[in-house]
C-alpha cells in the first residue's frame, strides 16, 4: 500500500481546480489500515464540489472510522481533464486521505443521489482497475456496493454493483462491515490481491444478502414473459417478476429505518473543504422523512416516517459545529424544515446566542409556501438577504390537487408579499411540467402565478425579479406516479415554448427550464429493469460520462444505445404502466404498500388531496406499521401557519391561518400601511386555526 501522491502531484498543474484532488479538509481523517479491518472507499460519483457536502457520505465516513474493524476514505469523480491526465500515465482512482489506489480498498461504496450519474459509477469502477461487471470479479477485487435514494430501483445497475443498501445506512453499514471484515480475516485481503487463486466471494455475497435492507442482485433472477405475436418484435418481453435464486434469500428486501435520530448525532465533525463547494455551510439535519404526501416526491415517500431530532441536540450540534468550523452560516435541513416542531424557538435560540454575535445566518432550505414561513426566514436570515425560493410545483389549484401539493394561490401571494415587504427583491419559483393530467391551462397557469408575483413585488420595489424555474417531471419508483408515462421530449418542448412565449411580454419575469432531452435520459434509467444495464454500459463505453452536466450530456448516446439493445423511449419512458404489470422494483420495499400507492394514484387522477398524517388519522401507507415504529414528533398539533394538511377544507383550500411576524430586520423596508391590516386579520385567523 503506497501513496500515489508523487504520481498525482505532477498532474495537478495540468488541470482546472487542482485542489479538488489534494484532500486536507478540516475534519478529514487519516485512517491506519490493517489486515483485520475492512477498508471502505466512499465514492460520490460526481465532482468534488457537488459530492463533498453530501451528508450521507459524511455520516458513514464517521461511523466507519469510529469502528475498530473499519477504516474509510473518500473519493469523488475526477473531472474529465483530470481523468484524461490520470489515464494517460496509468494513475488509478485514488483516495483523498492517504492518496491510496482504489484497489487497496476492500469495498468501493457509491452514493447514488441521481440517475444520470450511473455512467460515472461504471467509469469510476473502471478507473479503479476493477472489472465493471459483477460476473467478471473475483475474491481479489473489492466489493462494489451502493446506497442512496436511487437504490430503490437498483435494477439498471444490477450487473455492475455487488450489493445495495436500502434506506438509512447508519446501522446497516456496521452490520455489513462486520461480515466483510470477518471474511477478510478468514480469506486474506481481497484488496489488490493477485497472487494465487482468488477466494470465492459467493459465500460473502450470500451472507450480505441475509442482512436486513441489503439487496444482492446476483442472488435474484428476473423472469420475463414469453411474448408471441406482432408485439414480440416491437418490444422486449415484459418483466414477469424477480425472485430469489437460492434458499434463505428473502423474497422481498425491506428498507432500513433508524427509529431515533437522536441516537445518531452525525456528522459530528462535518468536513470543511479548502475550496468552495455547493452548500458551503454547516448543515444540521432537523428531521428525516416527510408526510406532506406530495405525489411526485420520491424523497418524501421513501423516507417515512417522520423522525425529529430533539431540539436540544439540534442546538448543541449547531453551536458546536459553528465553533469548530468557523462557518457563519448554518442550514437546518430536512424535506420541509418549517414543519419541525418548535422551529421558531429553535432558530431564535441559535441566533440570539451571544457566541453568534449577530453574524451567523440560519437558512431553512425547502421553505414551505406560506407567509408564516417567510416571517421565520426574515427573522433568522438577518444577514445576506439575496433571494427566496418557493416551490408551488403546479400552475393551477387543479394541478396541485393532482400532485397533492395543496398550496392555494392566496398562500403563494401572501408568501411572496411577505418576502418582498420584508426586503427580498428576488423570488424564485420552482415548477414541474409534464405532470399527470396536465392541460395547457395548467401549464400557462405557471406564468399567470409568476406574473402576479411580479405585480406584488412592484408594490414594494422597483426592479424586482421573479424567476420561474421549470423542470420536466420524471416519474420515480415507490411513488404514486410510478405508473405514469412520462411526457415526450416533443411535448415538454412544446410546453416550454408555451411558457416562454407567454412570459416574454412580462417585465421582471424570467423563465428558466431544464433541457427536455436530459429529462428523457433521466427517465430511461429511473424505471428501467435489468436489461437497461446494457444501455448504461454502452453509453459509458462511448464516452458518456458526467451526463448530468450540460456540456457533457448527449441524448444520441442514449437513444442509440436503446435502439441497439432493442429498446425505445416510447416503451421505457413514455409508456403508462398498468396495475397488473410487474415492476422491476416490486421485490424491494420502501415500506409503502403497493395498494396504497395505487389508490393514491387513482386519487391523483380524481384530483383528491390527501392530508398530512402527522396530525390526522393514519391512512396506512405502511411506513410506520411495517416497521413497528411511529412518527417521532415533539408536537401533536400542526405547525402554525402550515397550509397543508392542517384540517382545512381541501376541496377549496379552505381557511388558512396566516400570520406575519412583526420582526423587521434592520435595513429592510417596513411593511407599508395596508399590510398592518393583514397582520391584524391574519393574527385573528391564526388564533382560530391553531386551536
Amino acid at each position: 500500500m503506497q501513496s500515489l501522491w508523487p504520481r498525482v502531484e505532477p498532474l495537478l498543474t495540468q488541470v482546472e481546480k487542482p485542489a479538488r484532488y489534494i484532500g486536507g479538509e478540516l475534519g478529514a481523517q487519516t485512517p491506519v489500515h490493517s489486515d483485520s479491518s475492512a477498508a471502505w472507499l466512499l465514492i460520490y460519483p460526481d465532482t468534488y464540489e457537488i459530492g463533498l457536502p453530501n451528508q450521507g457520505l459524511q455520516i458513514l465516513y464517521e461511523i466507519l472510522n469510529e469502528r475498530e474493524d473499519a477504516v474509510a476514505e473518500r473519493a469523488y469523480a475526477p473531472w474529465v481533464d483530470m481523468e484524461a491526465a490520470m489515464r494517460s500515465v496509468g494513475v488509478p482512482l485514488f483516495s483523498l486521505e492517504n492518496h491510496l489506489s482504489a484497489r487497496d480498498f476492500d469495498v468501493l461504496a457509491f452514493n447514488l443521489s441521481a440517475e444520470l450519474v450511473y455512467t460515472n459509477v461504471l467509469n469510476l469502477i473502471d478507473l479503479a482497475g476493477v472489472p465493471v461487471r459483477v460476473a467478471d470479479r473475483t475474491g481479489h477485487h473489492p466489493l462494489v456496493v451502493a446506497g442512496g435514494h436511487c437504490a430503490f430501483n437498483p435494477e439498471p445497475l444490477a450487473d455492475f454493483v455487488d450489493c445495495f443498501v436500502l434506506g438509512d445506512g447508519e446501522e446497516a453499514v456496521g452490520e455489513m462491515n462486520a461480515v466483510i471484515a470477518a471474511w477478510k480475516v478468514a480469506n486474506g485481503p481481497p484488496a489488490g490481491g493477485t497472487a494465487g487463486d482468488p477466494p470465492d466471494r459467493t459465500g460473502l455475497l450470500r451472507s450480505l444478502a441475509q442482512l436486513d435492507g441489503v439487496y444482492v442482485p446476483s442472488c435474484y433472477e428476473a423472469h420475463y414473459h414469453q411474448e408471441t405475436g406482432p408485439a414480440a418484435h416491437a418490444v422486449l418481453p415484459r418483466l414477469a417478476g424477480t425472485s430469489p435464486r437460492f434458499p434463505g434469500i428473502p423474497d422481498r428486501v425491506e428498507k432500513r429505518t433508524i427509529a431515533d435520530l437522536g441516537e445518531w448525532p452525525y456528522p459530528r465533525q462535518q468536513l470543511v473543504p479548502l475550496i468552495e463547494v455547493v452548500h458551503d455551510r454547516l448543515n444540521v439535519e432537523l428531521f428525516r422523512g416527510c408526510t406532506r404526501g406530495c405525489r411526485f416526491c420520491q424523497a418524501g415517500m421513501i423516507t417515512r416516517p417522520v423522525r425529529e431530532r430533539p431540539a436540544e441536540q439540534v442546538r448543541t450540534m449547531v453551536m458546536d459545529g459553528l465553533a469548530r468550523t468557523g462557518y457563519d452560516e448554518v442550514a437546518l435541513t430536512s424535506l420541509s424544515s418549517a414543519d419541525y416542531s418548535g422551529i421558531e424557538d429553535t432558530v431564535t435560540s441559535i441566533i440570539d446566542d451571544p457566541s453568534c454575535s449577530g453574524q451567523v445566518s440560519v437558512s431553512l432550505p425547502s421553505l414551505r409556501v406560506d407567509a408564516f414561513t417567510v416571517g421565520t426566514a426574515a427573522q433568522i436570515q438577518r444577514v445576506r438577504r439575496t433571494g427566496l425560493t418557493f416551490a408551488p410545483e403546479g400552475g393551477t389549484w387543479r394541478m396541485r390537487q393532482v400532485i397533492n401539493k395543496l398550496i392555494r394561490e392566496e398562500d403563494l401571494y401572501a408568501a411572496v408579499d411577505a418576502a418582498f415587504s420584508q426586503g427580498w427583491k428576488r423570488v424564485k419559483l420552482y415548477f414541474l411540467i409534464g405532470l399527470p393530467t396536465e392541460t395547457d391551462e395548467d401549464t400557462l397557469g405557471i406564468v399567470a402565478l409568476a406574473k402576479q408575483c411580479v405585480a406584488i413585488g412592484k408594490r414594494y420595489h422597483k426592479g424586482v425579479t421573479v424567476t420561474a424555474s421549470v423542470g420536466g417531471f420524471v416519474p420515480k419508483v415507490q411513488t404514486p406516479f410510478q405508473w405514469f408515462g412520462q411526457n415526450t421530449i416533443e411535448e415538454l418542448t412544446r410546453k416550454v415554448h408555451l411558457l416562454r412565449d407567454a412570459a416574454r411580454p412580462v417585465r421582471g419575469l424570467t423563465v428558466r427550464w431544464h433541457d427536455p432531452k436530459a429529462t428523457a435520459a433521466e427517465g430511461v434509467v429511473s424505471r428501467g429493469d435489468r436489461r437497461m444495464g446494457a444501455v448504461i454500459e454502452q453509453v459509458w463505453r462511448r464516452g458518456g460520462t458526467f451526463q448530468e452536466w450540460t456540456e457533457c450530456f448527449d441524448l444520441s448516446l442514449w437513444t442509440d444505445a436503446l435502439a441497439e439493445n432493442g429498446m425505445s423511449l416510447e416503451d421505457t419512458v413514455y409508456r403508462h404502466r398498468t396495475e397488473d404489470e410487474a415492476l422491476p422494483w416490486d421485490h424491494l420495499s420502501a415500506g409503502l404498500h403497493r395498494d396504497f400507492l395505487w389508490q393514491d394514484w387513482l386519487d391523483a387522477l380524481a384530483q383528491h388531496g390527501l392530508p398530512d398524517c402527522r396530525w390526522t388519522p393514519c391512512y396506512d401507507c405502511g411506513a410506520c406499521t411495517g416497521f413497528g415504529i411511529e412518527h417521532v414528533v415533539a408536537s401533536a398539533v400542526p405547525p402554525a401557519g402550515g397550509s397543508q394538511g392542517t384540517g382545512q377544507d381541501l376541496s377549496t383550500g379552505g381557511q388558512v391561518p396566516v400570520r406575519f411576524l412583526t420582526t423587521v430586520p434592520s435595513g429592510a423596508v417596513p411593511a407599508p400601511g395596508p399590510d398592518e391590516d393583514a397582520v391584524a386579520r391574519a393574527g385573528a385567523a391564526a388564533g382560530e386555526g391553531s386551536g
Binding site: 501522491w5 484532488y21 489534494i22 462557518y327
Partner: protein
C-alpha cells in the same frame, strides 16, 4: 485597529486559489473569536485585505493580510498580538503558517497599492543549469522581450523586459519549497507589480521567447530540438520569497523580519541587478 500578518503557503495547499485562502482565513479568524470589524450593509463581511494575488499552484514565503478589528468592542484592547501567529497557525490548514503580526497605520494605504515588486524563486525541470544560464543572460541582455499574455480573456502582446527588475540563476538548489521537490535548477527573479503584475508563467514565456522560439500558449510544453541538455524551460515550482514596498527611495518588506536582518534580502543578494 489594523493588524498585518505575514504567512507562508507551502506544499499541497499551493493548489488552492487566492479566493480559497481568503475563505480559510475568514473561518480561522472567526474560530479564534477575534473581534473583527465588519463591512456595513446587507451582506456584512469581515474587513480583510490581501496583497497581490498569488497564482494558484505557486508557493510563498511572503504572503500578507491586513485584518481590521472593531475598536468599539471591548475585546479589541485585550488582543495580544504576539500570541496570534501560533493561535492562527493552529486554526489554518496544514501548509499555511503565520509567521509575524504587527499593528499598521490605516493611512499607509492598502498592500495592493503599496507593493511595487516581488521576488521569486522558480524551479525548472528538464534542462541543464548551463542552458538555463544562457537563456537568463539572453533575457537580461535584451532590450525588449515580447510575450503574449491574457488580459480580460483576450491575448495581448506585451513587452516583458521592463518588468524584469532582476534575474539570475540561483546558486544552488534552494530550500524555499514545500515537500515533494524533484531534481531541478532554479532562477531567482524580481518582477515588477506595477503598472501591472508579472506572473511567473509569463517570465517562463519570456525565457522561451529569447531563444527565438514562438512564445505563447503551449510553447512551454513544446518538445526540444536544441540538443542534449538544452531543453525548453518547464516550470516545476514557483515560490514568492518577498514582496517589496518602495518608499522614499528605499525598498522594504511590508513587515520587517524580526531577528533576521540578513535573511530579509536573501534572494536579492544573489542577484545581479539587471536594471
Amino acid at each position: 485597529m489594523r493588524i498585518r500578518f505575514r504567512f507562508v503557503k507551502l506544499g499541497k495547499i499551493r493548489f488552492t486559489s487566492q479566493r480559497d485562502v481568503a475563505r480559510m482565513w475568514e473561518r480561522a479568524l472567526r474560530r479564534a473569536e477575534l473581534p473583527l470589524a465588519y463591512t456595513e450593509g446587507f451582506s456584512p463581511r469581515p474587513q480583510l485585505s490581501f496583497g497581490l494575488a498569488l497564482p494558484t499552484g505557486c508557493e510563498s514565503l511572503a504572503e500578507y493580510l491586513d485584518v481590521v478589528l472593531d475598536d468599539a468592542r471591548p475585546e479589541t484592547a485585550g488582543v495580544v498580538l504576539a500570541e496570534l501567529p501560533a493561535l492562527l497557525t493552529d486554526l489554518l490548514p496544514e501548509g499555511i503558517t503565520v509567521e509575524e503580526s504587527a499593528l499598521v497605520e490605516r493611512r499607509d494605504g492598502s498592500l495592493q497599492q503599496q507593493v511595487t515588486s516581488c521576488s521569486w524563486t522558480m524551479a525548472f525541470t528538464g534542462m541543464s543549469r548551463d542552458a538555463l544560464a544562457q537563456r537568463v543572460a539572453a533575457l537580461v541582455a535584451a532590450d525588449s522581450v515580447t510575450i503574449t499574455r491574457e488580459r480580460k480573456g483576450r491575448q495581448e502582446e506585451d513587452d516583458l523586459r521592463p518588468s524584469v527588475l532582476a534575474l539570475a540563476v540561483a546558486p544552488e538548489p534552494s530550500g524555499e519549497f514545500g515537500p515533494g521537490m524533484g531534481p531541478s535548477v532554479a532562477v531567482v527573479a524580481e518582477l515588477a507589480c506595477q503598472p501591472r503584475g508579472v506572473r511567473p508563467i509569463e517570465l517562463v514565456r519570456g525565457l522561451i521567447a529569447v531563444s527565438g522560439r514562438p512564445a505563447g500558449d503551449g510553447g512551454e510544453d513544446a518538445p526540444t530540438g536544441d540538443g542534449p541538455g538544452a531543453g525548453i524551460p518547464a516550470l516545476d515550482r514557483a515560490c514568492r520569497t518577498q514582496q517589496w514596498i518602495e518608499r522614499d527611495g528605499r525598498r522594504e518588506e511590508p513587515l520587517a523580519r524580526r531577528g533576521d536582518p540578513a535573511g530579509a534580502d536573501r534572494a536579492v543578494h544573489a542577484l545581479e541587478r539587471a536594471s
